[in-house]
Symmetry: D2
Subunit: 318 residues, 4 copies
């Protein structure tokens, strides 16, 4: 295995796809097709399925691969497809890697091992062991809020140089280490494609040298993030920043949820917004999370109206 | 579903079974049979498979159920068998529950949901949702060090009274909340069977009112923990305490490992000890964890000799 | 400095004294005298001032030493007096040590350094440096919930053997490490006097080999903890346990506070109980914490009545 | 107290001053004068004394106010002086506020309360209570790594609108919340002056709308941060970014320290660099922290040479 894996196509805006459900909590295939096409038509550079926002932790394996099969069919080669292979420790992740690969995805995305306690030796060995079982581009998903391990930039660049990793999706919230990761990657010849997962500060990540972003909020406003990426490519920082301010304010919809916290508030708010905007047919969630209701929905609608994503006099959908 | 699920048989010492591997990292069936029989012959009251010590996070589903199938066959009804159904969120755990149940186990053990962030509402709903899919006794596994949620005693007793849970394995390291759990459970009519997972302070848990223990160290010295349980039943606290001091000192074998931290040091030391004691044929670990070597092995041997678990002049096995 | 510092008098029950305030938030000297005499008359073996429960973090230096001056005068040699010298890093703690020493206290109690980040080297050097400035017995206060460093048993015993420390007040909530601390201390010739700060599980700490306890709840029920200590000395474990169950249930008064969390709920509940029991004249707190009110007070009164610490028909004091 | 406190002079680059010590660990007044003048001559917009980098936690009160007295005299009105009033809880902080004010400083900087556990009510009351005792501009210091509380943007802006706070020094490492803080502050009429404390990503903070920065690294390269600020004012983002890359690479000197972690590695590396660059006469630290030595010094020198801050053939100072 070496650096020869081509990953030049991974750049720009690659939203993590939020999954629409019917009221009966099954995949809503119409809405799924709709949301995918809407993002591709807006100009996104790729799509990421089975990430945290894609409710990967909540899906049985059968449900995961049903989604992946449909996703690959709908996308149909128009943009690269990345697939999360999220599981606890190495052998389980390898199992997911094999299975995801069989659906024809373009890249795999794996976190550090979680559940069992370990140290840096186990983390590095984990990625090397996964590489032994796949020829696909492999991205490390730096997500300490879920897996309770922060990936070290020096280790990541070493894995990049050794051809183990081809990129990183950084959702660590650690902008200092992300800057160092960008610089160390640059000094090593740019073996890794570096993406930020923080939709609120994508502009700062671009300033740090990111190759792109994976913004959950792009499910709502894909055209905004595409426009921001293009402004960045053109060196128009004032526009980059202005779009970011718009998106950062829109993100308030996740901040004041009263019914719950965490995933149910964050992705719950995204689903609720997509439902109210008419992209989804419901804001249904998977067990044990419950869909937002009442004043939480009303508050989200208010923010959507302020952002001109709903008409000022549109009624709340029920 | 109601409280009528009989769980009177769950009490006393129920070791979480450590898994022996061959040098090729496959299940060592001879050693597995050996260690199970050794514990049953020592008088343990049950066995717990696919817990954290049973490397559940490191096993593919195929490996998990291979182990469970063999375990049920070897135990052959001599003691109750508990099975971990460890996975990220509710639907995945339900999948594991269905599969484990099909092997004829006597009880299921589930943690709080992990990976995705949630709050107390999601935790409680999680256990209630699992109950909808199984008639087996269900134990909550309180393990914040792995799942990053501490289970609230008041919620646990409520779930006990509602027939959702029949017991708790407490590995939280929070002895204050364990005392409160015992008292609240008592005041509610003892709907839950309460076990401590902390082999170093089982005596304190008995004093708090525990119904038994799930000590990983009992893989090494099952007779000690059985003797301690019987001394407790007889009210002989000085003996309970004296045996505990012996076991607490033996547990030093996990404390000074130099090669790594976490699971590789803890269960790694158990496997190394069982290997050196002749119960296992190797101290092999699963990816990404590596087996202990060199001075770590030598130090463990030294502690085993001090505890009279190896002859003073026995050589180190290699 | 060597091991010759005599600390044989430190054993048994040494409550951390909760401070009564007037409505104007000044020291209520009558109530202070009252609560001290009440505890000494109940048979406690010492008193600890300026600990966390003694609101040390909330007091200016002037207020700290006013309290210490009055405390030494009121106690008047009837029992040993321990004084907290709580501050951020070494030089500030040494300053507090010098000042506290000038009031004629019998021992000093210091935490690990806090605020600035450090490692084990700094922690060990910290205690050694304090020792260079005082001849009084010095106790380490293991309180990770406040200072975010857990003290390592091996380091503590080394500092004991070197005459730096004469004891430990363990409020770490880590009963496994407390057991190891007791065993390692025993094996080193018992250089340290070991106290638990967890009023809910003092019995488990005695079983582990503690030399005594520092229970905040003993401000309410000093006679109970004294009786428990004497039962332990007499080997009557069933009585030790029974008293513990009583105290653990009484401690519920800190668990369901609605107005706030942390110190305001814990010490706030103690002050409210002492006020309702007639030992204090108010439940006033120091800035920025506010006194408990309304339903929180009513709930505490209910628990006091259930514990026979207030008459069933006594009205709520206002 | 109201919004009329003028804080228009607080903007731009305000380094937190690192303190030079003699070999005997006393204030090195010559080097202190030298480093202050060097930064003022480079064009900094203010100086911040007694912050975390200014070893405030390690100083007795006498040492703190000796430093502040000398600092005010040396600065002599050339730039505004901010002073940290760092202590555990409200009354102690008020004491520090009164004392610092008497030296003629231009603004005070306070953290959330620490040591005792509390919640958002106590945090907000804390700042309001401090305001009752001072007329000086008051900045909140958001430093969860030290005080274990993250300040909520909504609360901060409310305190700004109410005239309690005039600014924030954000060292939280949470760039998402910093963006929201900037936007909410803007929407409220900009009552707060917002500074970032993260020298590695100042450019991202400027993009987010920061009014300035408090970079510890500016003790080494004040002219770089001044040049960056001026480039930002001129809208030259490529230059802002290029300078940031230089500074981010220079910051590697804190990353690979072997002797210790935390403050001793971070500020220890700054002092070592300033010593090797000839600005300081030693790299002495305060108890319990020890000065860096040997290979750690050599590695720092190597980075300084790579950054053209030392001649390539300059020897290591000893």
């Amino acid at each position: 295995m070496d650096c020869s894996i081509d990953c030049s196509k991974f750049k720009g805006v690659i939203p993590p796809v939020v999954i629409p459900l019917t009221k009966e909590k099954t995949l809503d295939l119409d809405a799924f097709t709709n949301t995918i096409n809407r993002m591709i038509n807006a100009g996104v550079d790729g799509l990421f399925f089975l990430g945290s926002s894609g409710e990967v932790a909540f899906l049985t394996d059968a449900q995961r691969y049903h989604i992946l099969m449909e996703a690959v069919a709908i996308v149909n080669g128009r943009v690269p497809v990345m697939a999360g292979i999220i599981d606890m420790e190495t052998l389980r992740v390898v199992d997911q890697a094999k299975r995801a690969s069989s659906f024809g995805v373009d890249a795999l995305v794996a976190t550090a091992p979680f559940y069992a306690l370990g140290g840096p030796k186990e983390t590095e060995r984990h990625f090397r062991a996964i590489r032994e079982y796949t020829d696909l581009p492999l991205f490390a998903y730096d997500l300490p809020v879920c897996v309770h391990t922060k990936l070290d930039p020096t280790m990541l660049v070493r894995l990049g140089r050794d051809g183990v990793l081809q990129g990183v999706k950084d959702s660590s919230g650690d902008d200092v280490n992300f800057r160092w990761l960008c610089l160390q990657n640059e000094d090593a010849g740019h073996p890794l494609r570096l993406f930020t997962g923080h939709e609120v500060v994508v502009d700062g990540a671009y300033l740090s040298g990111a190759d792109g972003s994976v913004p959950g909020l792009a499910n709502l406003v894909p055209a905004k993030y595409v426009e921001q990426w293009r402004a960045y490519q053109a060196g128009d920082w004032e526009k980059v920043r202005e779009i970011q301010d718009y998106c950062a304010r829109l993100m308030y919809l996740t901040r004041y949820v009263k019914a719950t916290v965490g995933f149910g508030a964050g992705v719950g708010a995204f689903k609720t917004a997509l439902w109210q905007m008419g992209v989804f047919n419901s804001n249904q969630m998977r067990e044990p999370v419950q869909a937002l209701e009442g004043e939480d929905v009303a508050h989200i609608v208010e923010i959507l109206k302020r952002a001109n994503l709903m008409d000022a006099d549109a009624p709340i959908r029920e």
